[in-house]
């Protein structure tokens, strides 16, 4: 799966979780997305884990700076590289 396909899936997750249309880019950060806060972040990460059938180990996703880095972490986990 290439980055664009990840973005597409993440767009769906974010839009469904935040109850508004969300268009993400690799450079998007939490500040850029209305409604992405401490409460919704937990729901977002749980949805991402479910969608990609992964489990973020401690110390991984907390350090992601933007959507691009989140995708890199997802890819690594999918490839069993963590």
């Amino acid at each position: 799966m290439n980055t664009e396909e990840y973005i597409k899936q993440l767009n769906d997750i974010f839009s469904n979780t935040l109850f508004r249309e969300v268009e993400l880019q690799t450079t998007t950060t939490a500040k850029d997305v209305e409604g992405w806060d401490s409460l919704t972040n937990i729901a977002l990460m749980v949805s991402v884990e479910e969608q990609f059938n992964i489990s973020f180990p401690m110390g991984s996703v907390e350090n992601a700076q933007n959507i691009g880095e989140l995708i890199e972490i997802i890819k690594k986990l999918e490839n069993g590289e963590f």
Binding site: F19, G35, T40, A43
Partner: protein, 611 residues
């Protein structure tokens, strides 16, 4: 939820608020501003609530805002800083007092009930330790109670989820489970009158300890427990607030068919209805009647409001051998074909109590809706179609939950509390110095060492608030600084009797002839208000004197996030040397240096020998 919206929308919304699913809560939160007007038929009541303690209370605050809507409450929340409730309570200038809350919920650290390696302790040792820990907590609650007129709640402690020593835990006074139990019972005994226990322990048991813990959440963001536990906490906080604001209801008005028995008496007759131990349903209805009877014994007035012929409606009460409730249990009995809203108003008038002290229960949503529409002051409970849930629905409404102990219980408790208070006075502290002293803090100061470099670099690069210059350095830069003779760096570790905070501060000094300049000073906000900065200053002075310097300089570079330490150097006794918008240089003459007495025991032998 405007008035013209259907009742099914309203039920759906209430279901979402009651939901334990995060997605439902988020959905309600997203629409909250639109919903708040119409969600409660009598308008929302605004309440100011402070939540303080040893945890991060976000997103608990958001969940609480949603859960409170169920009770028609609009909550304005103040969150205490992580693990700062002592200083927030002891400092009369703190944001807590400025906020002037109506309710304060304190969640003390679970470290207080954590008895590590305690399995070999004797019962006496355990009692002494528990008494000492809990009396500290109760005395800080006393201080808060005497400073504020708010309703104050203190969370008790939850059991551990791990097996620990296994089933022999029951035999060892120092086992984790018995330790927690003793903490909880001591808390009840020692809390000042007027401060209530928030029963976190019960909430954790209700959902199960396995579901209550979330270690990842604790380590990553200092959450108080799993999302499920946070849902329960938010529900319980709303519940307690609602209970405090509204007195206990006085009268329970019951429907009959499919509420007190299964079936329809007018169609099925005396032999056809389900009541009593001959059928599963009948048994459940009998238990529900037993529960209602117990409410009567608590002082609740009972009444009937049913669409029925009066003769048919009264028949089971007179002639069915399995009925628990009898006609003389009811003060008013309405069985006719009038709208129920009218009947209920008449009941209130007959008994001589306000319509707003009545609770109406029915299995038929249409009847509930009519009462909601035409007698909105009456509280209603829709029982649903499953009799095994009826009791829980009535109980969870909180309408008939006792608000306080009976006067006899209260008297006994107060005598006991007076006794406890006398004993406690000796150990009581009301000022911050005594509190800090009781923490038995130990500090270790060391020069930078290779093994600490990752943590040093992390503190330098992640700290924003207690960071005087926000000069970032990579690990490589830290390493090169260590071999540069014009720099002196030291690390600070802090532990107290509850926990080891680890490496919490670093300082980098630059030495130029007779001047010593504080170039970087960073501290973890976990140990604010602990006098750590005073000891760091004392140490900087020591280094200055050791190196025969005549002057100390210290730099403050303001950022958006470090206003916290804007006046730090002034408070430490420095004078301003030069001051511009983006840079303040402070100075102190080492011949007239100032040092501080603190409650911290410092171990710095290592450093002085290294210089």
């Amino acid at each position: 939820m405007k008035e013209n919206s259907s009742s099914s929308d309203h039920h759906e919304l209430i279901e979402k608020i009651n939901s334990k699913k995060l997605s439902d809560i988020i959905q309600v939160y997203a629409q909250k501003s639109k919903l708040s007007e119409g969600i409660d038929k009598n308008g929302l009541r605004k309440v100011k609530v402070a939540i303080i303690g040893s945890y991060t209370f976000s997103p608990l605050d958001r969940i609480l805002e949603v859960k409170a809507l169920k009770w028609g409450l609009e909550i304005e929340i103040l969150l205490g800083d992580f693990d700062s409730y002592h200083s927030e309570i002891l400092n009369s200038e703190s944001k807590l007092y400025k906020f002037d809350p109506e309710f304060v919920f304190i969640f003390p650290s679970h470290r207080l009930s954590n008895n590590q390696d305690g399995i070999n302790k004797s019962a006496e040792e355990v009692t002494n330790q528990v008494t000492s820990n809990i009396s500290q907590l109760s005395s800080i609650c006393s201080t808060l109670h005497s400073n504020l007129t708010s309703n104050i709640f203190v969370a008790n402690f939850i059991h551990k989820y791990e097996r620990g020593v296994g089933s022999i835990r029951n035999y060892l006074p120092g086992s984790s489970s018995r330790y927690v139990e003793q903490c909880n019972s001591t808390l009840v005994d020692q809390l000042p009158k007027g401060v209530k226990v928030f029963d976190l322990n019960y909430l954790s048991q209700r959902i199960g300890l396995e579901n209550a813990y979330d270690y990842k959440g604790w380590y990553v963001s200092k959450q108080i427990g799993s999302m499920l536990l946070q849902m329960s906490i938010a529900e319980e906080i709303s519940f307690e607030i609602n209970k405090s604001l509204n007195s206990m209801k006085k009268c329970l008005v019951c429907d009959l068919d499919n509420t007190l028995w299964g079936g329809v008496i007018g169609d099925d007759g005396l032999e056809g209805i389900d009541i009593g131990n001959t059928s599963a349903k009948g048994e459940a209805f009998k238990d529900f009647q037993n529960y209602i009877k117990s409410l009567k014994e608590l002082g609740v007035i009972l009444a009937v409001c049913s669409k029925n012929q009066i003769e048919a409606a009264q028949l089971p009460f007179k002639d069915h051998p399995e009925m628990v409730l009898r006609l003389d249990d009811f003060v008013s009995f309405k069985a006719n074909w009038q709208p129920k809203s009218e009947n209920i108003k008449e009941i209130a008038e007959e008994i001589g109590i306000g319509v707003d002290s009545l609770v109406f229960i029915d299995d038929n949503p249409a009847e509930i809706e009519i009462v909601n529409q035409y007698a909105p002051e009456v509280s209603t409970i829709y029982l649903g179609n499953n009799v095994s849930d009826y009791k829980a629905k009535l109980e969870d409404s909180g309408y008939f939950e006792p608000r306080a102990l009976t006067s006899e219980d209260a008297r006994k408790t107060s005598l006991y509390q007076q006794e406890v208070k006398r004993k406690e006075l000796k150990s009581k502290f009301t000022d911050i110095t005594a509190y800090l002293s009781s923490l038995e803090m130990q500090m270790t100061i060391q020069p930078f060492s290779h093994v600490d470099v990752p943590r040093i670099s992390q503190l330098i690069n992640k700290s924003n608030q207690f960071n005087l210059t926000t000069i970032r350095r990579t690990e490589a830069e830290v390493l090169s600084l260590m071999s540069d003779e014009s720099y002196i760096g030291f690390t600070v570790r802090l532990s107290d009797k509850f926990s080891d905070h680890g490496l919490i501060s670093i300082c980098i000094l630059k030495i130029q002839e007779s001047k010593l300049e504080v170039e970087t000073l960073v501290m973890s906000c976990r140990v604010l208000e602990r006098q750590v900065e005073h000891e760091i200053h004392n140490h900087i002075v020591r280094i200055g004197l050791e190196r025969k310097c005549s002057e100390l300089n210290a730099l403050y570079l303001p950022t958006k996030k470090n206003a916290l330490v804007k006046d730090l150097y002034k408070k430490l006794g420095y004078e301003i040397v030069s001051d511009t918008v983006d840079r303040t240089m402070y100075g102190m003459d080492l011949d007239n240096h100032k040092t501080f007495e603190t409650q911290i025991k410092v171990d710095n032998n290592l450093v002085l020998s290294a210089i």
